[in-house]
């Protein structure tokens, strides 16, 4: 699903360059539930941005769903994001003047789907994350956990190939964190590839595979042994 070969990325800082990713190799297969771990500055957000087509890489190859990603202009990137990727952000990133249903329906709007169909589908996904009753609430009227559930529903609504979650529980307390992770696990059980970035050990342990980054290099890549940890 996601295949990365010798990926390099650096950012210009004044005259110097900050080399953030130093030749990453990573292969994530369909249906996997992967956590990228690392302290801040390890390059994990940069990796997510590149995988999420929000940023481009300098060197190396990136295949998304078998398609080589290169020379993407913004329009193509937007189409691919809409089609293949669903984002869940730490700070939810809901549009604050749209209610839950409208937020979930927005990606479908950019797909060109009709209003009625769009709202039906959005409602279906809100129901899936257990927020059907809160459909007409604005983000400001929802709790943090509910906001993140709306964001997950929005990520899922286009039926993407991969869910990219950037510190999905970073702004939540442990109880709601657990419920959001439960939701992601459930989605994964239904066959969705889920790619989570976190720096919390217990969140990473909920996943199936942990990739650890340090200073732009993968230092470990191992399967989580379920139950054994508990």
């Amino acid at each position: 699903m996601i295949k990365i070969e010798k990926l390099h990325k650096s950012y210009p800082i004044g005259k110097d360059k900050l080399h953030v990713l130093k030749g990453l190799d990573l292969h994530i297969k369909e249906g996997e539930f992967v956590a990228i771990m690392g302290s801040s500055g390890s390059g994990k957000s940069t990796l997510l941005n590149i995988v999420g087509l929000l940023d481009n890489h300098d060197e190396g190859n990136y295949f998304l769903n078998g398609q080589l990603i290169e020379n993407l202009d913004e329009t193509k990137a937007a189409v691919l994001r809409n089609k293949f990727l669903g984002f869940v952000f730490q700070s939810f990133n809901l549009i604050n003047y749209k209610n839950a249903l409208e937020n979930v329906a927005l990606p479908l709007y950019y797909q060109g789907m009709g209003r009625k169909e769009r709202n039906e589908r959005a409602m279906q996904f809100l129901d899936k994350v257990g927020l059907k009753e809160r459909a007409d609430h604005l983000p400001s009227e929802l709790s943090g956990g509910e906001k993140q559930r709306v964001a997950v529903a929005r990520a899922l609504v286009t039926n993407p190939k991969v869910i990219l979650a950037d510190e999905p529980t970073g702004a939540l307390d442990s109880t709601t964190s657990a419920s959001v992770m439960e939701l992601l696990k459930e989605i994964n059980r239904e066959g969705m590839t889920v790619f989570v970035i976190t720096h919390e050990e217990d969140i990473a342990n909920e996943t199936d595979r942990i990739v650890r980054l340090r200073d732009g290099i993968i230092i470990s890549d191992e399967k989580v042994l379920k139950k054994a940890i508990v």
């Binding site: 929000l54 329009t75 994001r81 809409n82 984002f87 709007y109 950019y110 209003r115 929005r154």
Partner: protein, 413 residues
């Protein structure tokens, strides 16, 4: 263009406008002010113009009046101070000698006591040819003006002004066919006209055939004064000079005698006024367009601020699949929508203010403004310009919006 008729497009615009009430209001007020000023200024200028047209409208504007006075220099054996009279033969000579004349109309003028049954008044009586109606349009309410037959047969007929009708006749009485007595001679009333602004005053005028006047007042072949109009394209100032020179020659007056013949050049006077009007219109357009441009820049500025404010939102939209041109399109459409609404409101308020001006300053005899109006095409062009400029200026923030990479936009807090 399909997206224009898509409810979702408008839903998006409506919700983003509704959620940003203050900036929407500021934008609308800025543009509204511009177009409002343009409408009011143009309307007021038009009102002033109409007022001048009302004052001079009844006259052929390229006309000159000439009358005889006394000489101020001795010439060819005549002493200075000789009284001069214009003669019928002068008219003929002028017609043949001077080029570019449309009408040369001789007139006589006197004051006379006029009686109808038990009512009476002293009015100005004029001896006129039918052409006079062409030089100085009489706005006839009833009947006709003097015609060629009246001239030929020296008929005792008269055309009266409405003011005279009011003074000499009962209300609702039909004046046509009735006889009024002017200096003890009966005249049949054949026409009545409404007074224009210039020339009459409250006193009122009576017109009788020129030939009748000559006979009744024993004028021989002399004439009181004459009105001359030039054909379009001929300089009325030159015509005036030529005629006076010709008259000096005919009446044996020193060519440099400035006092022998008096004249009033209406064309010259009106040219001064129209020059002023042209200047005023230019100023109006200048101020109006400058204000409009300022308004448009205000939109651009506000949209730019808006885009900065909405950077994160735009980032989110792009992360979930909005294409750059979709973002651009929405911002431009917002700009166009806002300017259109503002333009429409500006036109409406401008119109209302013009109505108010018309109701307060535009009424009565000596109104400052007459019919302050703005032509619809002018307004449409102004509105269209506004929308086009709004679109162009909207391109700047739209471009800013998509030039920020979504990743940077999302990072924004």
């Amino acid at each position: 263009m399909k997206f224009l008729f898509d409810t979702d497009t408008w839903q998006e615009i409506y919700s983003s406008i509704r959620k940003n009430k203050i900036r929407t209001a500021i934008t609308i007020i800025g543009v509204m002010w511009g177009i409002f000023l343009l409408v009011v200024l143009l309307g007021a200028a038009k009102g002033v113009e109409n007022n001048f047209n009302k004052l001079f409208g009844n006259f052929a504007t390229n006309s000159v009046f000439v009358w005889a006075q006394q000489t101020s220099q001795p010439f060819k054996g005549f002493q200075e101070g000789k009284s001069l009279r214009l003669k019928m033969s002068d008219i003929e000579t002028i017609r043949t000698e001077i080029e570019g004349l449309e009408f040369v109309v001789p007139r006589h003028q006197t004051q006379a006591l006029t009686i109808n049954k038990f009512k009476s008044g002293t009015f100005g009586v004029f001896g006129d040819y039918p052409e006079f109606d062409k030089v100085q349009k009489r706005n006839l309410v009833y009947g006709r003006f003097i015609n060629d037959n009246d001239i030929k047969e020296k008929k005792k007929v008269c055309v009266i002004e409405e003011e005279i009708y009011k003074q000499l006749f009962e209300k609702d009485e039909d004046p046509i066919g009735q006889y009024i007595k002017i200096n003890d001679i009966n005249y049949n009333v054949v026409g009545m006209y409404k007074e224009g602004m210039v020339g009459g005053g409250p006193q009122g005028n009576i017109h009788i055939p020129f030939t009748t006047f000559q006979q009744v007042y024993n004028m021989g072949d002399s004439i009181g004064w004459m009105m001359i109009t030039g054909k379009p394209g001929f300089d009325i100032v030159q015509i005036e000079a030529d005629i006076k020179l010709l008259l000096k020659n005919l009446h044996k007056v020193h060519p440099e005698d400035e006092r022998a013949f008096g004249s009033f050049n209406l064309g010259k006077e009106i040219a001064k006024v129209t020059g002023f009007l042209t200047g005023m219109q230019f100023l109006t357009w200048f101020v109006g367009i400058a204000t409009l441009i300022a308004g448009v820049f205000a939109i651009g500025n506000i949209l730019l601020i808006t885009v900065k404010e909405r950077t994160k939102e735009i980032g989110i939209r792009r992360a979930i699949g909005a294409k750059p041109w979709e973002i651009k399109r929405q911002i431009i459409l917002e700009s166009v929508f806002l300017t259109s609404i503002a333009g429409a409101l500006g036109i409406i308020f401008g119109g209302l203010v013009l109505m108010l001006i018309d109701a307060t300053l535009g009424k009565g005899e000596d109104a400052a403004l007459t019919n302050p109006t703005v032509d619809i095409p002018v307004i449409l062009i102004a509105a269209l310009t506004l929308v086009v400029l709004g679109t162009l200026i909207g391109l700047i923030p739209a471009h800013t919006a998509v030039s920020i990479r979504p990743i940077e936009a999302l990072r924004e807090e």
